[in-house]
């Protein structure tokens, strides 16, 4: 039984371990070339002091941004660390009969089936008013539409030629698509699934960094479109244009940054009762196998700073950038989601199909770690909350994607359907599964 407390026990121990780490981090820092200032993507205002210099207190805006390679920070001369690198999924989606569905496990009383397959690199999910499921991608150029008509499902390519179109959101007939550095829309999309117009851009004042540049988007109860910008590298300082969540009107106007210190969120949703925004955030790599953990965060007011890159998981000052800082300066997470687990898509469950215990719980897809010898995640978990909105428990919900420390699938996003069933996307196999509770019914009748 997997169960996590929201506050880790070993903070004192980690202090001893950190001091050892700082030495090697400092040694590496001096070996880095100071060439980052020549980066074309760095705005002129950000080309100030050298990467190794301590940033002036309170201003994350001025320092030079080193390049964003995931390998920055890897300890030198360590064989176990040298084996770790990001995992790329196969390019070709698995055929429906080759999907690992039979190996996937859900709690007693739940069922899982394939909802649709054949969508290379299926990532974020959005639901249309007429039951169409929209699916973004990151490594290919496509947004797909899963059309549900008379009990038969069909996958259409809705748009192609896009650049890392990870984010999709739907409101009042319009589909919003977030590419690496722009957000666009297709109006009346469900009336034009066979011959959709090209997306029209609503917002493109966004940096073009590849590292953590792909975006999750969603629409809030305040009728604003929310879009993040990740930190442009594993552990780097952020200028004004990075490490944030922004909201805007549906035409891209009145865009405002609402929070900072966000390293890389790829999933968020609003609590059904408090209407507060909860978001997952991926912790930094190469600090250790076990810390920091990924975070579940909650925004209680505009202007909050969630710590990155100065404070990690709410209680560890970063060995590199945390000097002169204290975690008390930043908003702490309401829950921890496992080291390197890559917690991505999350939604609160509001349906009536699942048992009452799931009502208003956060269902979170953990894509699974790469920066850890023994993999963590590659599952969907249920996070239940305390009355004060902090995380009470985290329990497995969908498992079986991890076999002999290798992925046979990787969940990215979850989406509640109108009948209360839950869809789960898998970018490793290019598929979407459907989880139901109770006597199995054919999905077509949903």
């Amino acid at each position: 039984m997997m169960s996590y407390l929201s506050v880790p026990r070993s903070v004192l121990l980690s202090g001893a371990f950190l001091s050892a780490f700082v030495l090697s981090a400092a040694a590496q820092q001096s070996a880095e070339p100071p060439a980052a200032a020549q980066q074309s993507t760095t705005p002129p205002a950000a080309q100030a002091p050298a990467a190794g210099a301590p940033p002036p207190a309170g201003t994350a805006a001025s320092p030079t941004l080193p390049p964003g390679s995931p390998l920055i920070g890897r300890p030198a001369g360590n064989d176990a660390a040298a084996k770790l690198a990001p995992i790329a999924p196969p390019p070709i989606p698995a055929a429906p009969d080759k999907l690992p569905t039979a190996k996937l496990k859900v709690p007693a009383g739940f069922n899982i089936e394939v909802y649709a397959a054949g969508m290379a690199n299926a990532r974020s999910l959005a639901l249309g008013d007429k039951g169409t499921v929209f699916v973004g991608s990151r490594l290919v150029d496509k947004v797909y539409a899963i059309v549900n008509k008379d009990g038969k499902r069909e996958v259409k390519v809705l748009a192609s030629g896009l650049y890392r179109p990870n984010g999709v959101a739907f409101k009042d007939g319009t589909l919003y698509i977030a590419e690496l550095s722009k957000i666009s829309k297709i109006e009346k999309v469900e009336d034009n699934l066979d011959n959709p117009p090209k997306p029209t851009v609503i917002f493109d004042k966004l940096p073009k960094d590849e590292a953590h540049g792909w975006k999750f988007i969603a629409i809030g109860p305040d009728n604003k479109l929310y879009a993040p910008v990740g930190q442009p590298g594993n552990n780097v300082l952020n200028d004004d244009e990075h490490g944030l969540i922004r909201r805007m009107n549906f035409d891209g106007s009145d865009a405002e940054v609402i929070v900072r210190g966000v390293r890389h969120t790829v999933g968020f949703d609003w609590h059904p009762e408090t209407k507060q925004l909860y978001f997952t955030d991926n912790g930094r790599d190469w600090m250790s196998e076990d810390v920091p953990e990924d975070e579940l965060n909650r925004i209680t007011k505009v202007g909050e700073h969630f710590g990155a890159p100065f404070c990690l998981q709410g209680n560890i000052v970063d060995p590199e950038f945390g000097w002169g800082k204290s975690c008390s300066e930043y908003t702490a997470p309401v829950g921890l989601l496992g080291p390197h687990s890559a917690a991505l898509g999350m939604r609160f469950y509001t349906g009536n199909m699942f048992p009452k215990a799931y009502k208003n719980a956060a269902i979170i897809a953990r894509h699974g770690s790469w920066n850890r010898s023994r993999k963590v995640g590659g599952d969907v978990v249920v996070a239940k909350l305390n009355k004060d909105g902090t995380m009470k428990s985290m329990e497995p919900f969908l498992t079986g994607f991890l076999e002999d420390n290798k992925y046979i699938g990787r969940p990215v996003d979850v989406l509640q359907m109108k009948d209360g069933s839950l869809l789960v996307s898998d970018d490793y196999n290019g598929a979407v599964y459907r989880i139901t509770y109770g006597k199995p019914k054919t999905a077509g009748k949903s």
């Binding site: 070996a31 070339p33 060439a35 980052a36 020549q38 980066q39 080193p66 390049p67 964003g68 390679s69 995931p70 390998l71 890897r74 040298a82 690198a85 990001p86 995992i87 790329a88 196969p90 390019p91 070709i92 990151r138 490594l139 290919v140 150029d141 890392r164 590849e210 590292a211 590298g233």
Partner: protein, 189 residues
């Protein structure tokens, strides 16, 4: 070189229309440019021998879907099925890996190249001997001109790569350093 491509394309259209042919015959047009024994003799065209099958599969997929744009390859792959892509990738992985050039490289340049490989941790993903693993390609003893061209394309992001990790790696590396890297990797023993 253009002449070779045209000949290869003509060849290709014949072989794709008769898929019952053995792989050795179907792959012949590819090897006309890429080298029959895994080692390319053609300018700016990579050696394929011993290449990691998952990497080749990704590249063939990207060529077919025009996610990587190079017209002759987009043309060669456009009629291939998913199974064809797997077949070609698996066959290429079993071809003999390319050999380093006969003469030893200039020691100063070799030393600079080696230092750059260490500094930028190429060996972390590409393996200690630069033989690659899974989706990360074998680069050891690849053609120097192709290495230099490719590193330059990753640097200016005209070649995005599948997951864009190379664009980030290349950002701080200068054109002179690219030349040294390519020189060293091509001659690695």
């Amino acid at each position: 070189m253009r002449y070779t491509f045209v000949a290869a394309l003509a060849f290709a259209s014949i072989s794709f229309s008769a898929n019952a042919e053995p792989i050795e015959q179907r792959i012949a047009p590819c090897l006309a440019c890429h080298g029959e024994k895994g080692q390319s003799e053609t300018e700016n065209t990579p050696s394929l021998g011993g290449q990691q099958a998952p990497y080749t599969l990704i590249q063939l997929f990207m060529f077919r879907e025009k996610l990587r744009v190079f017209e002759p390859m987009n043309e060669m792959t456009k009629a291939l099925t998913d199974d064809d892509l797997r077949l070609f990738s698996d066959f290429i992985a079993k071809m003999p890996k390319p050999e380093p050039p006969g003469e030893n490289g200039d020691p100063a340049r070799m030393q600079r190249g080696q230092a750059l490989v260490r500094q930028h941790r190429c060996d972390s993903c590409h393996n200690g001997d630069l033989s690659g693993k899974e989706n990360v390609p074998r680069i050891a003893n690849q053609r120097e001109d192709y290495l230099a061209k490719t590193l330059g394309e990753y640097k200016d992001n005209s070649r995005h790569g599948y997951d864009a990790s190379m664009a980030d790696v290349m950002a701080p590396i200068s054109p002179e350093q690219i030349a040294d890297l390519a020189y060293y990797i091509a001659r690695l023993r």
